[in-house]
């Protein structure tokens, strides 16, 4: 069984985000970019499944401009067997990504698709669900544990939901999106970085896949959240009570 993992190149999680002065978006020039943390977790799970013998190969897929190849290389250095780069210079919203993935699934025919639950730049949390809908495959989102059964061709997924944990049993092929506690991703070791250099990255375009990219969404404005007001130091309990009563009006 092949596993396809969709990975996204985003602004590094630890970077301080700045909004562009014209409020059209976020500053991405000269800013460190890395693999989306949830995608790392998804890829790690796929690699573990392969290492346990339940899958034959892991294919990493990413979409975007040329620089995306850096992120793909990280994926290969972690252990993916090969990769596909869908070259598209503009912004891709979740529905377009899902349509492209559907076209790739029809070519590669994987038994399982892994994605991160959401990307940290747009926080959409839509792609996994959309591709499941397009393919009419079962989905286990926010996975914190995945156990595959080869004979029964099912996946038992523990999902992190608001009320606690929900356990689902999905028939394969299925779509699973990874949540934070699923696993701890591995580091890229030097020998693996070396091996990654000889792994294949196939380049395709949306036209090759006969997918038309049109978006019904347009970003109108991006602003920073309002700045937090500084706190006030009080010097006695009486003053505190006075402020709570008369200024904050909560007592």
């Amino acid at each position: 069984m092949k596993i396809m993992v969709a990975i996204k190149r985003v602004i590094d999680y630890a970077v301080k985000i700045r909004v562009k002065p014209d409020k059209s978006g976020v500053e991405t020039n000269n800013v460190k970019m890395s693999m989306n943390p949830f995608c790392e977790i998804a890829l790690e799970e796929a690699l573990r499944i392969k290492e346990s013998g339940l899958a034959s190969e892991v294919i990493a897929v990413s979409m975007g401009p040329t620089q995306v190849v850096d992120t793909i290389r990280t994926g290969l250095a972690m252990g993916a067997d090969r990769a596909i780069h869908v070259d598209y210079p503009g912004t891709l919203y979740p529905l377009s990504v899902a349509k492209i993935l559907k076209a790739l699934v029809e070519i590669e025919k994987p038994g399982l698709i892994f994605l991160g639950k959401q990307a940290i730049d747009d926080d959409c949390n839509q792609t996994g669900q959309m591709i499941a809908g397009l393919l009419k495959w079962p989905q286990g989102t926010f996975a914190s544990k995945v156990v595959l059964d080869k004979e029964k061709q099912t996946a038992v997924v523990d999902r992190e939901v608001d009320g606690g944990l929900e356990t689902l049993c999905l028939d394969l092929p299925a779509v699973i999106t990874a949540d934070l506690r699923l696993n701890q991703p591995r580091y890229a070791t030097l020998p693996n970085i070396m091996k990654a250099k000889s792994k294949v990255i196939k380049k395709l375009t949306p036209e090759d896949l006969k997918v038309e990219i049109k978006s019904d969404i347009e970003v109108v404005k991006v602003t920073e959240p309002p700045k937090r007001k500084a706190g006030v130091l009080v010097s006695s309990v009486d003053e505190l009570i006075d402020k709570l009563k008369n200024e904050a009006r909560v007592v």
């Binding site: 630890a14 000269n30 580091y187 070791t189 030097l190 070396m194």
Partner: protein
């Protein structure tokens, strides 16, 4: 005539008093006596300070005093009854003027993160803590490197965050950054993790303001890159550990933040490979290399065995992943490991770095290693190295030595120490390999004089024989003041003493020495 008076004071000092105050020493072999010339604090003194500093500036609360009296390692404990917290230079000046007139001994204190007992009182000195003086006064980014002017109580980490927003960095970085203050860093000439690239504080400090023992404010707070007008006295304050005056303001050069940063954590078969790797790295990656640290396998297992890396699972997984991958065939126990940290710009940098690392693996210089793929991974590597002192503290008692040694000999000392100590304690080594600085730590379940006897004076004599320094960056403090002769000739020490007396001698109205345990005083008694 001046020399006579200096000699006279010398005599007065060495004929010190009988009673030795009870202490919690775990490494000082010499005994220290409280100089009877110093006064004891009286209620009048307290009311004076309260008038000068306000209620908030005078601390007599037992709990707060206990914290200020004890060093970070819990090895040195003073018995001060008074902690003062001035808010500006003028208050520091008034405090010192008053203490001088009353002959009250003082000890300057910043973040209290020092490791040689130099930041806490020896006896009942008044503690002058500059922690409230934490304003950033100005930041000029017109020239390529910024110039930051700030008060001595600014915490290093806060300065780093401030500069980060501006696109600059501090020229020094150390594990204690969350608590250490820049005044203390300057007074101890702190080294840290970036010295390899940015040099020592003697190069990056452009100016400072200090208050002398009689309250005189010495304004040497220049922001000029070049100023050759007379003796550059600020260099004497840098590293003098507060014995010449209290640093109140610092002006420091801040390098620009570079866009590409990466870090690799590598495992080498033995120490010789580590050395060769350093030389290769300096040759091939000279401009890019920013830090080169090493830790041996004992250090690595200590850090991963304590729950220090987060949850226990996390710690285990980090190592397990590396075991699982390619480490299974190599016994991790036998390997010294290292860090590398490189700065440069763009993808050429990544290509160069990767090419160098892969070549090192191919040539066998590096047995294995990992390269950080994002900022979080990079931070977690630093977490391991920066967390070593804390992990050692959690493991029990630790005897800590900070030595500069010739590169080829460095690990020989570690191995000889292991033989010397035997099974009684664990010898853990790590340090700034790029600077030739070894942090030798002996970790035992509890402090034990038998173990201490096996360590000292062996470690100092070994270092001295190899013309190393018994204190590369930690300073002398109380721990090593009497050991200065291992690394400095008697003539040099003599000149230091003469100079110190000259400074106090020439100050108007100096009735007695302040700073009870200045390094010079202890050198005298040795």
């Amino acid at each position: 005539m001046e020399k006579w008076r200096a000699a006279d004071r010398l005599l007065k000092f060495s004929s010190s008093c009988k009673s030795k105050q009870g202490k919690y020493f775990y490494s000082v072999a010499t005994t220290v006596h409280r100089n009877p010339l110093f006064s004891i604090i009286s209620p009048d003194d307290i009311s004076y300070f309260k008038t000068l500093l306000g209620e908030r500036g005078v601390v007599q609360d037992a709990l707060a005093l206990d914290a200020a009296n004890t060093d970070w390692m819990g090895k040195y404990r003073g018995s001060s009854k008074l902690l003062l917290q001035p808010k500006n230079t003028e208050e520091v000046s008034q405090i010192l003027k008053y203490c001088n007139s009353r002959c009250l001994a003082v000890v300057p204190q910043g973040g209290n993160t020092g490791l040689v007992g130099g930041s806490v009182p020896v006896f009942d000195e008044v503690i002058i803590n500059v922690g409230l003086m934490r304003n950033i006064l100005s930041f000029d980014k017109v020239i390529v490197s910024g110039v930051l002017v700030c008060e001595a109580g600014c915490i290093l980490e806060n300065l780093i965050s401030f500069l980060d927003d501006e696109g600059f960095i501090m020229p020094l970085d150390l594990g204690a950054k969350g608590s250490c203050q820049i005044g203390g860093n300057v007074s101890t000439n702190a080294g840290g993790l970036r010295l390899l690239r940015y040099g020592s504080l003697h190069g990056s400090v452009l100016g400072l303001e200090a208050v002398l023992a009689n309250g005189t404010v010495l304004d040497m707070l220049g922001t000029l890159r070049k100023d050759n007008t007379g003796y550059d006295l600020k260099h004497l304050f840098i590293g003098s550990e507060g014995s010449l005056g209290i640093v109140t303001k610092v002006s420091i050069l801040t390098p620009p933040k570079l866009s590409s940063v990466n870090i690799a954590f590598l495992a080498c078969e033995d120490y010789t490979s580590c050395q060769k790797l350093l030389l290769e790295a300096k040759k091939k990656l000279g401009g890019i290399l920013s830090a080169f640290e090493f830790l041996d396998s004992d250090a690595m297992s200590l850090v991963s065995s304590t729950t220090f890396l987060g949850t226990e699972n996390h710690g285990q997984e980090v190592i397990k992943d590396k075991h699982g991958q390619d480490f299974t065939s190599i016994d991790l126990r036998a390997l010294p490991l290292e860090f590398w940290y490189s700065y440069a710009s763009g993808s050429i940098f990544m290509e160069n770095l990767e090419a160098f690392l892969l070549h090192s693996v191919e040539s066998g210089l590096v047995a294995n290693g990992v390269l950080a793929q994002d900022i979080n991974q990079a931070s977690s590597f630093w977490h391991i190295r920066e967390g070593l002192p804390e992990a050692l503290m959690k493991a029990g008692a630790v005897y800590k030595y900070d030595l500069s040694l010739p590169l080829e000999k460095m690990y020989d000392l570690v191995e000889e120490m292991r033989v010397q100590i035997g099974p009684a304690a664990k010898v853990v080594a790590y340090g700034h390999l790029g600077d030739g600085n070894l942090h030798l730590n002996i970790s035992a379940p509890a402090y034990d004089d038998n173990i201490l006897a096996k360590i000292e004076p062996f470690v100092y004599e070994w270092t001295s024989k190899n013309r190393g320094s018994i204190s590369a960056e930690h300073g002398l403090g109380l721990m090593k003041a009497a050991k200065i002769h291992y690394s400095k000739s008697p003539e040099t020490v003599r000149l230091m003493i003469d100079f110190d007396y000259c400074v106090f001698e020439l100050l108007p109205d100096t009735s007695c020495l302040d700073d009870n345990h200045s390094i010079i005083c202890l050198c005298l008694s040795a």
